[in-house]
């Protein structure tokens, strides 16, 4: 579960946004799961799986603080201590349903791998990706290759101006997969789509379910984001 992954590449792809590819041991990695990554800092940093090709996992991450700044300084050939894949991802058994993917900012990464896996199963998807501004956008072409892709920017510098909820209201789909900041998740959780799956973020300690740092209120009591999630049905969590 813990392994030393060799960095294949690590490059800037948008404002303060890096793409890192690391080579791991051969194993199954489900879309929507994450790795808990050791940096210069004490606690590990959770990063979603943005893609997997052969044994190479892609992370797309925003440089926020000391941990991600340390990652951004790593070079090809450096070795990264990663724990994972962890958690439970998006359900892929949507064979005869129409799926809409809704991502906001740094919540976009897990949706790329998810869309690829859905496409591999012949499932058609629409993606709605929200960013702050034009220079924050990443992976647009990669998403377009896999189907209809609607981009929104808060400041209107690219695509539709506004939030993802605008285009989402017009979309006709049975299932929604979403990842992004909490206000966005709250909005999409209230949308008209019948089956809604949300990937939740929370500050973590262990990342494996032992410390109760990452709990999220739930109708029946609580859930642990790291081991019960990070993906939940909207009804399973109280945002």
């Amino acid at each position: 579960m813990r392994q030393l992954a060799t960095i294949v590449s690590n490059r800037l792809i948008a404002t303060a946004t890096m793409e890192m590819k690391v080579e791991i041991a051969p194993q199954e990695v489900a879309p929507g799961t994450f790795f808990h990554v050791k940096t210069s800092e004490l606690l590990r940093r959770p990063l979603s799986v943005a893609n997997v090709e052969a044994n190479v996992v892609t992370f797309l991450y925003k440089v926020i603080g000391a941990g991600t700044a340390d990652l951004a300084a790593r070079r090809t050939g450096d070795v990264l201590d990663v724990l994972g894949p962890l958690g439970n991802g998006f359900p892929l058994e949507q064979t005869d349903k129409r799926v809409v993917l809704v991502g906001g900012g740094i919540g976009v990464p897990p949706l790329y791998y998810t869309r690829r896996m859905l496409a591999a199963r012949g499932i058609e998807t629409v993606a709605i990706l929200g960013f702050d501004t034009k220079t924050s956008i990443f992976y647009e072409d990669a998403f377009r290759e896999l189907g209809e892709t609607i981009i929104t920017t808060v400041d209107g510098t690219y695509g539709e101006m506004g939030f993802v909820t605008g285009p989402l209201a017009r979309v006709d789909a049975d299932v929604l997969f979403s990842c992004g900041p909490e206000p966005m998740l709250k909005a999409v959780a209230a949308s008209h789509i019948e089956e809604r799956y949300l990937s939740i973020e929370n500050r973590m300690g262990c990342g494996i379910g032992a410390c109760f740092a990452c709990v999220c209120e739930a109708p029946g009591g609580y859930v642990k984001v790291c081991s019960d999630g990070p993906v939940f049905r909207a009804e399973e969590v109280t945002l």
Binding site: N202, G205, A210, C211
Partner: protein, 308 residues
Amino acid sequence: MRLHVDLPGLQLKNPIMPASGCFGFGEEFAKLYDLSMLGGIMIKAATGESRFGNGTPRVAETAQGMLNAIGLQNPGVDAIIEDKLPFLSTFDTEIIANVAGSTPEEYIHVARQMSADPTIKALELNISCPNVKCGGMQFGTDPDMAAELTRLVKAASTKPVYVKLSPNVTSITAMAKAVEAAGADGITMINTLVGMRIDVTTGQPILANRIGGLSGPAVKPVAIRMVYEVAQAVDIPIIGMGGVRTVDDVLEFIYAGASAVAVGTANFENPYVCQEIIEALPGRLDELGINHILDIRGKAYEQTVSRA
């Protein structure tokens, strides 16, 4: 046998155990390595009823440390006994129950239930959790209250009782002597230091609970100093903790006077850390010319070396 440590109620095959609250009830770590290799396991705090704990964020990182304010989330003593202890009983290691509460009655109830279960070999009396409104800390910072609670729990328990000390006190030796006089079989120390972090973009504390308990390598020097002081002040054994992450940290605690060591926060950084320390111990003892690990216990104060 050079790692074997005998303590009241506990036959430790080695002096390494995960600290309470940092290892849950073992289930997650059991997927990573065989828990039977551990000297013991200090399980998560139990209260009388189930508790949800504090709001989130519950953790905040600091320089080589972390703050936590979990707030004693646990399913309650009965659910733990029913759902968690059977699994733990399948491992060949000593299980220590962490006993918490808001009132003396609740502590007594939990202690009675826990000590009655054959899987539990000793109790750890948590009088020092800084993250709950009632109970916890108050008992842990006043020697008389700590002594009284120790007496009550000792009377209710059929198993040895270790009292877990809070470092947030003027005199740690006064606390230690008080609980020793009240009948404690051992001391575990230290619990976390009370701390806070503020998010400068909001001006508000990061933790929903505002304050939290500081743990990790940052606190180790305070823990070592306190173990060193307490070991010279009492005759009951000490299980030391606070910032342990390497085999040399373990030796530092034992030189300071501890008989065994618990590992908390380091399990988050490296979930295999207890296994790795246990595997590294014999080789490190060889390098340092130490035969049995307890040969060095308290040597930091017993043997005085002349200095320039």
